[in-house]
């Protein structure tokens, strides 16, 4: 089935349908999700389109729906999630829903404002109530209003109260916010220097009085002063502090009456508030029941009107013409959907489907299922391919997790990752309901993570690394006994003398001659020069994998060429260039691995390669095999010759072809100066394009081969981090011999687990993911050949 390897073949189709059935047909097409509408009114601005009013109405309705949803959520009313009605939105539904929404919005706004006013009144009354209650205590200290203010009252400045004759004290009573009270008191002192008596008490709210949304702590205060002017000033001060003042009668009887008044009013208000709340809740619950349905309906209508804006409305207002891009294999289903739509609307004529030929480039369509979506979106993030070009996604499905695994390389961590991905896959519905962006991203990539985990288990087994420990399944190929007498140079004294000893593979028996059958030998895990071996191994492995991946990419682009008939001009020189340089490097690596040699006489491959490029054969002992010098010279010369081939062959061929065409044109037609001029300009373009491509390819070869060394770098970092976690966290607890060791081990294991998950799985996982992504985003791997229009 070709569909995933190459983007699908598309066709341009003209649709004619009647205005009445338009909504139903577009609805059906929308459910199919397989067509793309072409804009038939490209010249018009958004405001000039036919259905712009309706689109605006839909947006207004969406706004009202959002407001409703906010209110519903604020009042903690559950929105029923499931609804099954799939009614098709029709034009008259628009008006109907619009009026309903307007009414609902008005109602809700009214209810809200009423409720706020009521609440305000309620708070005021409560405050008056508290005020009256507490000032009772204050006023009791004054036995009658004519008496002298006795020294029973603790006054901070005593001098001012010793006057003769009766004093008439006035007062100001009010309620102020608790946190503002100290400032208020301070300013009163500053202004009046103690010529007043201030009494305050905090309002302690009872439980059932919490009608306000966020209860603010308030204090009741009474200021006793002499004189009216001071009272006026205090009033202004209270205004400045937003303290609400209440008229408080002097005598106890009036106060009592006011209190009973306030109490009855409070009871009434309480009742009214309760009723208002209930009414609001019923309205909101009724609205919430239909909220989902309305939202989806409005969305569909908006989409339908937007699509209708793209179509051409016939002058007689009876017919709608639309042009769609649709995959050839789906033409039948599109036709059936349209017939279904027109039947639903009850129109007699079925819509006409007319396929037309066109020169325009169709859009690229890759058919994906839930497994392949993740990988396709990764590829699309780099760049959507051209029409009918090869799609790199099916190959990415293996190479991407594999390259990740080479960098991640730990079977213990890989197992944890696989289990996590399995959990995501099995419970994806549950996770999607949480509607968290990060979790959504994880759930979308669940198959990618699953494959990455599986491959990581495999590469971890080959690197012989499981939480930084190795498995010894087959028995190590290295043995220590032959190093001792009588075979080898060691004695018991050698052991006592030095801390570290090197095993020599040249002593017979030390190295068994057969490598460890599966992966890296477990002895390297306990060797102190483990990194010397592993670095050399991993670097060479990265280069081999890199060259293999790049060759694969170039070969894939061969399939694009066969489509465009470009093989000899571009593919062959590219392949020869890469093989002669980097293929030879791979050969050197493999040769050095397979042939037995003494370590003193083994030349370094890096130096060999550098000398090869510099044509430097002066130093002795730099040959791996006898005929090395002539072979290397030949390969470098061939590689250098490929560059002009790449650079000039294709443009020259095109130039000759167009020259022939031009001569042909000149002999037949007159006035082709314009064509000639355009020909000149485009020739320069071709040369420049080809030059860019050549430089990009050649330099890219070198730089990308080097960039594959990140496979080594990241796997080294991962191995080192995991070893640090073992040595410095878990091993410390395992070495404790006392009884407390078990408790310490439990705590340390918790720390080990947390650090493993956050640093090694999340951080290293993300890092390896990004680097694997970068390795796939090189244009030289999957040369999408931008068809410049001159392919012959």
């Amino acid at each position: 089935m070709d569909s995933f390897f190459r983007s699908e073949e598309m066709c341009l189709v003209q649709l004619f349908f009647q205005t009445e059935s338009a909504h139903n047909c577009i609805n059906e097409l929308g459910h199919l999700g397989l067509v793309q509408f072409k804009d038939l009114n490209p010249g018009t601005v958004a405001f000039q389109r036919r259905f712009v009013k309706e689109v605006k109405k839909c947006e207004e309705m969406e706004r009202i729906l959002r407001f409703l949803e906010n209110e519903v959520v604020k009042s903690n009313i559950p929105i029923p999630a499931d609804f099954t009605s799939e009614t098709i939105p029709v034009p008259r539904d628009v008006l109907d829903l619009e009026s309903r929404f307007d009414k609902l919005e008005q109602e809700l706004k009214e209810i809200n404002s009423n409720r706020d006013t009521l609440r305000q009144n309620f708070t005021q009354l409560m405050e008056i109530n508290h005020l009256l209650q507490m000032t009772d205590d204050f006023f009791e200290e004054l036995p009658s209003e004519d008496s002298v203010y006795s020294s029973k009252v603790t006054c901070r400045r005593t001098s001012y109260t010793s006057t003769n004759g009766p004093l008439k004290l006035g007062f100001v009573a009010g309620v102020i916010k608790h946190e503002r009270f100290p400032a208020f008191e301070k300013i009163l002192w500053r202004l009046f220097h103690g010529n007043f008596v201030l009494r305050h008490a905090e309002i302690k709210p009872h439980e059932e009085e919490n009608m306000a949304e966020d209860p603010v702590k308030k204090d009741v205060f009474v200021v006793f002063v002499q004189g009216d002017q001071i009272r006026g000033k205090i009033r202004k001060l209270c205004d400045g502090f937003h303290a609400s003042m209440y008229p408080c009668p002097n005598n106890a009887y009036a106060r009592k009456e006011m209190r009973t008044n306030a109490n009855t009013r409070i009871e009434d208000l309480r009742l009214v508030l309760k009723r208002t709340e209930e009414f609001r809740e019923t309205t909101l619950t009724a609205a919430a029941a239909n909220l989902q349905e309305w939202t989806s309906k409005v969305k569909k209508m908006k989409a339908i009107y937007y699509t209708l804006n793209l179509c051409n409305i016939d002058i007689t207002q009876k017919l709608i013409v639309a042009e769609i891009w649709c995959p050839v294999s789906d033409l039948n289903s599109v036709h059936t959907a349209l017939i279904h739509g027109s039947e639903q609307s009850g129109s007699s004529l079925s819509p006409v489907v007319n396929r037309i030929q066109t020169q325009q480039t169709p859009p690229t369509f890759n058919r994906v299922n839930s497994f392949t979506t993740g990988f396709q979106s990764i590829i699309d993030a780099y760049g959507v391919g051209n029409y009918q070009e090869i799609n790199p996604a099916p190959y990415t499905m293996v190479t991407f997790p594999f390259l990740f695994a080479v960098m991640f390389g730990d079977c213990g961590h890989g197992l944890v990752m696989t289990l996590l991905a399995l959990w995501l896959i099995l419970h994806q519905e549950h996770f999607r309901k949480l509607k968290n962006e990060l979790i959504d991203m994880l759930v979308d990539g669940r198959y990618i993570i699953f494959l990455m985990g599986l491959f990581s288990i495999y590469t971890g087994l080959i690197y012989n690394d499981c939480f930084s420990k190795s498995f010894n399944v087959f028995g190590s190929s290295w043995s220590v006994r032959p190093m001792f007498h009588p075979h080898g140079p060691w004695t018991n004294d050698t052991l006592h003398d030095s801390g570290h000893l090197h095993l020599d593979p040249l002593v017979s028996g030390v190295y068994s001659g057969n490598p460890y059958p599966f992966g890296v030998d477990p002895i390297w895990n306990i060797a102190s020069n483990k990194l010397s071996f592993l670095n050399s191994y991993k670097m060479k492995m990265s280069v081999i994998m890199g060259v293999a991946h790049m060759l694969f990419g170039v070969t894939l682009s061969l399939v694009n060429y066969i489509n465009l008939k470009d093989v000899a001009l571009q593919f062959i020189p590219e392949v020869i260039f890469m093989l002669s340089l980097f293929g030879y490097l791979i050969f050197l690596i493999l040769y050095k691995w397979c042939v037995v040699m003494k370590s003193e006489s083994a030349p370094s491959i890096l130096l060999l390669f550098i000398n090869m490029m510099l044509f430097d054969y002066s130093s002795e002992g730099t040959v791996l095999y006898r005929t090395q010098k002539p072979v290397q010279i030949f390969l470098v010369v061939v590689a250098v010759l490929m560059v002009p081939w790449l650079l000039f062959a294709k443009p020259l061929l095109l130039y000759r072809k167009h020259k022939q065409l031009k001569l042909f044109c000149l002999s037949l037609f007159f006035g082709v100066k314009k064509a000639f001029f355009s020909l000149q300009v485009s020739m320069a373009d071709i040369f420049v394009y080809q030059g860019i491509h050549t430089i990009e390819y050649c330099l890219g070869c070198i730089s990308n081969t080097a960039s594959y060394l990140r496979l080594w770098a990241l796997s080294l970092a991962h191995a080192e981090l995991s070893e640090v976690l073992w040595k410095m966290v878990l091993q410390v607890a395992l070495r404790v011999t006392s009884g407390m060791g078990s408790v310490l081990l439990a705590v340390t294991f918790a720390a080990f687990a947390v650090l493993t998950v956050t640093i090694l799985l999340v951080m290293e996982g993300l890092s390896a993911f990004l680097h694997a992504l970068r390795l796939h985003c090189t244009p030289s791997t999957y040369t999408p050949d931008v068809a410049f229009g001159f392919c012959s």
Binding site: D2, T459, H502, P505, V596
Partner: protein, 81 residues
Amino acid sequence: MAALSFVIPMSVMTLFWGIIGGVVPWFIPKGPNRGVIVTMLVLTAVCCYLFWLIAILAQLNPLFGPSLKNDTIWYMYYHWS
């Protein structure tokens, strides 16, 4: 005889990945996903086989040996045959 210990893993792994990459694709049932599944099998087999091959070839002719601590050597002398 000693070479046998190299031939056995070589042939087992080659056979294993050869079956996965070369034989199993013929048995995948026809359906819309057949192409994708076959591609994935072949690519997996090639990648994993190559990776294993590199690991075993790198250790075939070692130029230097591991450097061990003396108590590790002492332990290995008595406990690893």
